[in-house]
Structures are given as structure tokens and as C-alpha cells.
Amino acid sequence: MAEDNIKLMQGNEACAYGALAAGVTFFGGYPITPSTEIAEILSREMPKNGGRFIQMEDEIASMAAIIGASVAGAKSMTATSGPGFSLMQENLGYAYMTEVPCVVVDVQRGGPSTGLPTKVAQADTMQAKWGTHGDFFPIVLAASTIEDTYHMTIKAFNLAEKYRTPVTLLLDEVLGHMREKIRIPDSSEVEIVNRIKPTVPPEWYQHFELTATHVSPMANYGEGYRFHMTGLTHDPSGFPTAKPAEIKEKLDKLKSKIMQNADDICAYSEEFLDDAHIVVIAYGITARAAQQAVRIARQRRFKVGLFQPITIWPFPEKRLRKILENADLAIVAELNQGQLIHEVRKIAKTKTRVVGTFRYDGELMTPMQIVDKIKEAHR
């Protein structure tokens, strides 16, 4: 066995190398703190592997370019932060509507507006779900360690390809900039998923064919299929429709593709939940404070466990609902004024009290803030 490839890496670096491991061939982006290192590294590394990097004129164009590249067969991505993520929303909706695989990394910083460019936050949790107009069922992942960031970036590409949809990866300023030990896996250990290709001749091809899994095989431009794509509501062949039945069919397809496959898409991690009456729920960097908090509280004989969503959207509600059946108290810890807590409230039964502990002053949450909340709320 080859010796382990251990490195000390920054989160943004791990994201860039994760993308390379996933087989990224096109990056279009625009500089923004705290995500810029991802673009810098890829501008250096991608052409060495035959990939193409371009710095676009803004984030609107970046999102447009990665969609165009993906339809032409590239594995494409962009990286940004809150303000840029806002600018990407229109074309993110386009990618969703036209079912184009691509990856958007949002290294979150404090908001609203220009907010806190160099400080941590998790305030784009809901933007990632509701940022674009119209009904939207996105796949959104979150990493909590540097090693996670590497693997989540690969997972984001794989899910995008598998489900023919844009996937957002949420990081944050601290994760993006801090350094940690990471084991880089051998390429043989990395699972790569590619979009399903059509097997029918071009005359039979429908770019949005209805299938049992709701995922349509995808031809790329230049492969002889000559299909049409539009952000207008379209029929399975891709051409605009105004027929109520076809409109409903399209929107149902988009929703079902994600929600009926939620068991496959949803990921989470759990700790000490077997006998827990108190469940702490936290994602991303905050999950690390929560993990520490749960361990401290356990020593103090609180029956407390941790539930960490890895896919934020779709929210792993089936699993959490089961966990909360035995819980009297759920504590949601987030670096915002309370966003994910609404999802927990939605699924908790009356028996389970849901409280939040938030921090939004640009600093990380400490384990003690969560421990104090456990003590205070547990009565």
C-alpha cells in the first residue's frame, strides 16, 4: 500500500484540489473574499490538466458561463461568497430549470449586503434554498472540516452529474481560511459519477425525457443531438409549452427528482443519539463546536446527542423526525439570527421543545455557548 498522502491545507485549497480530483474541466468565477483562493489555485492548476479557467466580468456571467460549458460537456464550477451568490441566483434557477449539472461553492461571510467580508457566518442557509425565484428544490451540502471540504466538493460534482442539477456547497470564512491536516486519497479511492448519456438515436432523443427516476439522460452539444434548451417552461423535448398539463408535469419532475430520491441524496452524521433526550442540531463549522459541547455536557451527565445535517437541502427531515420522537428538547445552533431552526420547528412534534442558540457578531460559536444553552433550556 502506498504511503498516506498527508497534507496541511487551507479549506479553500482543499476545495480546489477536491474539484480537480472530481474532474473539473471548467471554472468561471469572479474574485470575492473569502473564496478567492479557490479561483487562484484553479487558475494555476487547471490548464496543466487540460482544464480551462476564466475570470468572468461578474458573478452573473460566471454562473452563465459554467452552465454553457456544462451543456458543452464540461464538468463545471464556480466559487463565490454571499454578495456574489446573490448575483448568481437568476442563472442558478436557469440551471435548475434546464437541468444542467454544475457546482456552486459559497464560502459564506457575514451579511446582509457587503456585511463582513472577512468574518464567519452561516447566513446564506436560506438563500441557498430560496434565493432564486419560483419553486426550487436544490441540493445543498455543507462541510465542517478541511478533509470534509475535499470530499464534499467531490460529492457535489457527483450529485450534480447524477441528478442533472446544480449543487451548492456551503463553506464559511473560517473553514475557507483555516489550515488543518488532511489525507488526500489516492485517485483509485475516489468515486466519480458521470451524467447518464442517451442510448437512443438523435431522432428519438428528448433532452428532458420522463423517466422512472425523473433524471433524463443528457447529450452534450456537439454530439449530434441538436436539442433546444430554454428557461421558459418546456415540454420533454425542451421546447416552450403553455399547456397546463405539461407545465405541471415539468414542475413535478423537478421536485420529484430531488424529493423522491431524498433517501439517496440526504446525508448526516450523528453522535450519542441512542439515549438522548436532548438533541443539538448544527451544521458546518458550528457542528464542531456542537460536537465538543455535547461531549462536555455528557461528562456533566446530560443525555444529549448531536445531529449534523450534511445535506442542508433537502433537509434530512425523515431521519431527524425519527430522532426527535424520543427527545424533549432540540437545540439548534447557527451562526445567524435563526434560519435552520424553522426546518426543525416544522418537523418537531409538540412534545419536543425547539430552542435556538445563535451568534451573528462575526465570531465563531464556542462550545460553552451551547453547553450553557443546554443547561439553561433543560428543565
Binding site: 471548467f26 452573473i60 452563465a64 458561463a65 460549458a69 452539444y221 456537439g222
Partner: protein
């Protein structure tokens, strides 16, 4: 030369797409015809063509054309086209935009694509108004003309698209009108053959809105006006400034050589020892090496 019926058969989509959305007499169809005839002249393999558009009356053109087609968001056609072209540098990428779509909301993408000199042929249909939304003034509506949002006369000044393209770095610019359909075909053909960011401004009529609001008459009258007021740039050279005042200069107005973006990037990949992209055919790889 292909006949009209073979062009219709080869390049238009048959099923379910017609009748088109345009008003009877609209010039956009003439632009589409000129574009398809120039493609037929060049015998371009339609599997190798990507036609990208934004939103507006002009933006509907790709639906009818049997290429790889991408109808995108308002103003973003050139940005999407940039991604397509970089991912597949050997494909012929055409962006079809309107004046509002391409120069107002999409103005930033237009100038930056020109600056990069990326090999995209931009067909800019200029009817001086937002047609689809009902006649609002656009960045090419002349001073004092009427739009539904300039009911008292436009107090803004229009772009000179040629100057904008030149100043931004485009390597080819031509202007034609929908009256001069044959000339338009020739100009588009030259633009398609140009390696670089090329722009053909097609002066077109929106009689339904611009014509009505400005009392310029029917489609026929507006096209008649183009006939009478267009002057070939070569002819104009020999005339005094007074004689060409208020005229539309047509023909090839700008044609220079400058390194093209994707070619430069391919060379960079080669220089760094990156493998040529998997999609490219072996003989094309050869070409890239010998260049």
C-alpha cells in the same frame, strides 16, 4: 448555392415550432433568413453550431433553427456563449441578441467578450426598442424619439454600436439592414469566417411598436426608409460629411487581426503540458500543435 427550399428543409425545425411568434412584417425573420443562407453558403455542419440567445423578440430565433440551441436569460447570451466556446473551442458559436438585451442588461458581457476577442459571432438585431415588453426605449433609441417609457421624447442618447465594439476590442464589425438582405447575408458570412469576436448589427424594423409610436408607418414604409437612407461605407468615403448626415453606414466597418482568446488558452494548455481536451478530434489536436 442552396435553394430556398433546401435551406428551409435543412436548417429549420419541422415539428411544432411554427407559426413563429413575430409580428407579420417583422425584420427579425429576414435576419434569420440571411443567417441561414450564409450558413448554407459556408456548408457549416449544423451539429457543430451552437446558437445562443437571450430574451426578447430576437431571442426567440433559436427555437426555429435546427442547431444546438440555447435560449438563456435576459442579456446573458454572450456570457453563456463564452462558456460553450471555451468548453468546445472547435464549435461555431453564434450569439443572437437584441439592442436592449445585448447592450443594456447584457452590455457588460458584450464589451468583455469583445475585449477578450473570443471567437463568437454576435448577430445584433437593432430595432431601436424593446419589442417584446411593449415598446420601451432602449440604448439605441435615438434622441427625442418616442418609446412607451419615453412618451415625451427620449432624453438619452443612443450607443454607436460600431464605436462600442471597436473600443472594446472586437475584431470585426459590419452593419446591414433588413432591406439589403443579400448584403446582410454576405456580411454575416464574413463574420462567421472571422476568427475572433465579430459583430453584425442588423438594422431592423419594429413597425408594431417603434413605427407606430414614432409615426414611421408600416413595415413596408420602414423598410423603404432603410433603402433610401442606407449608404455603403465605401461609397460614403467619397462623400462630404453633409451628404452622409443622418444616413446609415452599411458594410464592413471594422476588420482587424488580434489574437483570439480560445486559441491563446489552448496554447497555454499546451505550454503547460496539459493534455488536449478529450472531446477534440485527433486531427484537430494535430492542428493545434502545429500552429
Amino acid at each position: 448555392m442552396s435553394t430556398a427550399s433546401t435551406i428551409v428543409y435543412n436548417y429549420l425545425r419541422s415539428k411544432k415550432k411554427f407559426p413563429h411568434v413575430w409580428c407579420p412584417g417583422c425584420g427579425i425573420g429576414i435576419v434569420m433568413g440571411a443567417l441561414l443562407r450564409s450558413m448554407a453558403d459556408l456548408e457549416i455542419d449544423k451539429n457543430n453550431v451552437v446558437m445562443v440567445s437571450g430574451i426578447g423578440c430576437t431571442g426567440r430565433m433559436p427555437v426555429y433553427c435546427d442547431f444546438n440551441t440555447l435560449h438563456t436569460t435576459h442579456g446573458r447570451a454572450i456570457a453563456f456563449a463564452t462558456g460553450v466556446k471555451i468548453a468546445k473551442p472547435n464549435m461555431k458559436v453564434i450569439a443572437v441578441v437584441g439592442d436592449g438585451d445585448g447592450l443594456a442588461i447584457g452590455g457588460n458581457h458584450f464589451i468583455h467578450a469583445a475585449r477578450r476577442n473570443i471567437d463568437i459571432t454576435t448577430i445584433l438585431v437593432n430595432n431601436r426598442i424593446y419589442g417584446m415588453t411593449g415598446g420601451q426605449y432602449s440604448p439605441t433609441t435615438p434622441w427625442q424619439k418616442i418609446g412607451s417609457t419615453a412618451p415625451h421624447g427620449n432624453v438619452e442618447h443612443p450607443f454607436d454600436i460600431c464605436d462600442l465594439a471597436k473600443g472594446s476590442g472586437a475584431t470585426y464589425f459590419a452593419r446591414g439592414t433588413v432591406y439589403h438582405a443579400t448584403q446582410l447575408q454576405v456580411l454575416i458570412k464574413a463574420a462567421l469566417q472571422k476568427k475572433g469576436f465579430s459583430v453584425v448589427e442588423c438594422i431592423s424594423n419594429c413597425h408594431t411598436l417603434y413605427g407606430r409610436l414614432n409615426r414611421e408607418g408600416s413595415a413596408v414604409k420602414m423598410i423603404q426608409w432603410m433603402k433610401e437612407n442606407a449608404i455603403n461605407a465605401k461609397v460614403a468615403e467619397k462623400k462630404s460629411p453633409e451628404e452622409i448626415e443622418g444616413k446609415i453606414l452599411t458594410g464592413e466597418l471594422w476588420n482587424i487581426e488580434r489574437p483570439e482568446y480560445t486559441e491563446q488558452y489552448e496554447r497555454l494548455i499546451e505550454r503547460l503540458g496539459g493534455k488536449p481536451p478529450a472531446e477534440e478530434k485527433p486531427e484537430e489536436k494535430e492542428e493545434a500543435v502545429t500552429q
